[in-house]
């Protein structure tokens, strides 16, 4: 049999994969008494080296993805295209890579602060990222499952990375148990889908899917449960707060952003390719899930004292917002989803970065009160935090508002076209929710600016990496909010909005490789 493999289609993955494979080796080499630098390295130096290395891979991957975006749609293996490298996957990969890169940058100092600076960290991050990238592009159940696990398993460990801290252990254990439980359910669902249609490729499943048959629908439901777990949508969300709170802050940031992005990518694929025939039932279910997710997330966030936990709930709520775009199911809707995921990454990472910088003396300082007086002591951090909060709350002229605006715009547009009241109600509930969300988002600037700083707990200055990340997030939040059109012109006419739209178009009309 003849195979025609298009290795280059995997460009971005290769870059990251190489990193994932080489970093552990590099770590071992660097850890020796006599390194090629001919003298033993402190753990910090080692960490920095590895971070830079992984950063290198990520940046290469980024560049490749940017190129891929403007290029044609490609698949790895013509005879059995398990992945499709279309604009959606490229776009989401870019988002994931950005998130990962920023995480890596922040981690260097943070790991030193919490005294768990192990080189494996970066290897695990890289392999997780690899999983995410495959997840966003997978069009095949097998690959979907594999990628999901490749993404999750390193995360189980990463969240338990503070080996000595009970909270970290607990977070890891919970994540592991509930996570693998969920993936087992997902697997069973996949099995049923396969049994119902006799194929593992999403496109063919979609072609043969029979909404009347019970097994098909059963499989669909179970798959939705599995993916719903990954995007932490109610009622499959409860692991998120615990895990996010216990995990090291940078890991939390990483999980809260990239994992969601990738999982939403998978969800997009499944919904558009496989479950299209069952769309009305699926969307009906998603409507309820979206409303629940927004509401529960926001309500629970109000009563939190720990900022990581609060952000966990806020990330749940935001998953709800994004679902709105999925439910709309138009080009605008999907474009809004993509855009929102990008924006969301910056907003949330900005916040988590600040929290990470606050860590000191081997432990996190993640109570909201720990931020008291930050506005006076550390203006940049405070500003970043505040703007992230306002963005998350969706106040113009920040990117968060732009994202929400597009989501609700899509909903209303579809609603007015079809006279579908449910979409209008969804939008109303959405905006009411974001009004509720103010209750906790505003608390952070309130504490930072209106409270007097605690004298003995002045956080240390953000280092170069951190400052870089903060400024990047700030710039992105503001620019994406003010001129969402042509933000990334520097990357060669990269008009986000039109790009998301273009990507969404490809999503709706799956390209024939």
């Amino acid at each position: 049999m003849s195979m025609s493999l298009d290795i280059a289609a995997l460009g971005p993955m290769l870059a990251v994969g190489v990193g994932a494979i080489l970093l552990p080796i590099a770590e071992v080499l660097l850890a020796r008494k006599r390194t090629f630098l001919s003298r033993p390295l402190t753990r910090e130096r080692r960490g920095t080296f590895l971070a830079v290395g992984s950063l290198l891979c990520l940046v290469i991957a980024l560049i490749v993805s940017f190129n891929g975006f403007v290029g044609p749609v490609r698949v790895f293996n013509m005879s059995n295209p398990m992945i499709v490298m279309d604009r959606v996957s490229h776009f989401l990969n870019i988002v994931v890579l950005l998130g990962a890169a920023m995480t890596v940058l922040v981690s260097v100092k943070y790991l030193a602060d919490i005294r768990t600076n192990h080189g494996e960290y970066y290897a695990l991050v890289m392999s997780s990222v690899l999983g995410m990238m495959f997840l966003t592009s997978a069009t095949d159940l097998i690959l979907l499952f594999l990628a999901l696990e490749l993404m999750s398993i390193p995360l189980y460990v990463l969240s338990g990375f503070q080996r000595e801290s009970l909270r970290s252990n607990e977070s890891a254990l919970k994540y592991f148990l509930v996570g693998s439980f969920a993936s087992a359910i997902l697997l069973y669902g996949m099995a049923l889908l396969y049994g119902a249609t006799g194929s593992v490729s999403l496109a063919e499943i979609g072609a043969r899917f029979d909404p009347e048959s019970a097994i098909d629908m059963l499989g669909a439901a179970l798959v939705l449960v599995g993916l719903g777990f990954k995007i932490s949508s109610v009622p499959f969300h409860q692991w998120a707060p615990d895990v996010y709170e216990g995990a090291p802050t940078t890991v939390t940031g990483f999980m809260a952003t990239t994992v969601k992005v990738a999982a939403f990518g998978a969800l997009l694929r499944v919904l558009t390719l496989a479950l299209e025939p069952a769309s009305d039932v699926v969307y009906g279910a998603l409507w309820v899930i979206a409303v629940l997710t927004m509401t529960v997330g926001n309500l629970m966030a109000i009563i939190q004292q720990n900022i990581k936990r609060m952000l966990a709930y806020s990330s749940i709520a935001h998953a709800g917002y994004v679902l709105v775009g999925l439910i709309v199911g138009t080009i605008e809707g999907y474009a809004a989803v993509l855009f929102y995921l990008l924006v969301y990454t910056f907003m949330t990472l900005g916040a988590f970065t600040v929290v990470a910088i606050l860590a000191k003396g081997g432990e996190d300082r993640d109570r909201i009160d720990d931020l008291a007086g930050l506005g006076a002591t550390r203006p940049l951090m405070a500003a970043a935090m505040a703007i992230s909060m306002f963005a998350l709350a969706g106040i113009p002229p920040t990117a968060g508002f732009m994202g929400k605006f597009q989501l609700f715009r899509a909903a209303i547009e579809r609603g007015t076209e079809t006279g579908d009241t449910s979409l209008f109600v969804l939008a109303i509930l959405g905006v009411l929710n974001s009004a509720v969300s103010l209750a906790y988002y505003l608390r952070v600037p309130l504490v930072m600016y209106f409270r007097e700083p605690d004298a003995k707990l002045t956080p240390d200055l953000p280092g170069f990496f951190e400052r870089f990340v903060l400024l990047t997030c700030l710039a992105a939040i503001v620019l994406l909010g003010v001129v969402p059109g042509d933000v990334f012109v520097i990357f060669g006419d990269f008009d986000i909005l039109s790009k998301t739209t273009a990507a969404a178009q490809q999503l709706l009309s799956p390209p024939s490789p």
């Binding site: 059995n80 494996e120 695990l124 690899l130 490749l150 189980y156 460990v157």
Partner: protein, 166 residues
């Protein structure tokens, strides 16, 4: 005829020993052993479904590696009998159990409704050769990813598991 006997026997054993894993509260080791039994019988079912390769893998990896790993850990922590205090949320678990029973019944009913017959398949079907061909052509990518996954798992297990980090 023999097929039916085999099927019923092994599926019975499989489910029974699976139940053993769940219900055997006293001794974790027994639970692990039940797991082995269940997996072996599942392997038999695999082979009955003319999936030799997978069956073999099932025996080697699952029974041979995974469960051994379990046992190893159990021994390492040498806790034969687990003694957990009082149940903290009995009601929830009761309801859950009932729910599961109901769902299982429904599920069985539903699945038994789907009547389909076996297609004729060549003798090649499910052999190592056949699987190998597909695996290294169509599913090459998946295979590679599985490799990375194993590496990642290795690193992960090491970093989290090893007793002390210098």
């Amino acid at each position: 005829m023999t097929e039916q006997v085999l099927f019923y026997v092994f599926s019975f054993v499989a489910v029974l020993s699976a139940g053993g894993v769940v219900l055997n509260v006293r001794n974790t080791v027994y639970a692990a052993l039940c797991l082995v039994v269940s997996m072996l019988s599942i392997a038999v079912l695999f082979i009955m479904l003319s999936a030799e390769f997978v069956g073999v893998i099932q025996v080697l990896v699952y029974a041979g590696a995974i469960v051994v790993l379990f046992l190893f850990v159990i021994m390492l922590l040498n806790l034969k009998s687990e003694d957990m205090g009082a149940e903290s949320q009995p009601l929830l678990k009761l309801v859950g159990t009932l729910l599961i029973l109901v769902v299982s019944v429904k599920l069985v009913a539903l699945l038994s409704g789907t009547r389909k017959s076996w297609p004729e398949v060549g003798s090649e079907f499910g052999t190592v050769r056949a699987i190998g061909e597909v695996l290294y052509t169509d599913y090459l990518l998946a295979f590679e990813i599985a490799g990375v996954l194993l590496l990642a798992g290795l690193v992960a297990a090491v970093v989290i598991g090893k007793q002390r980090i210098d």
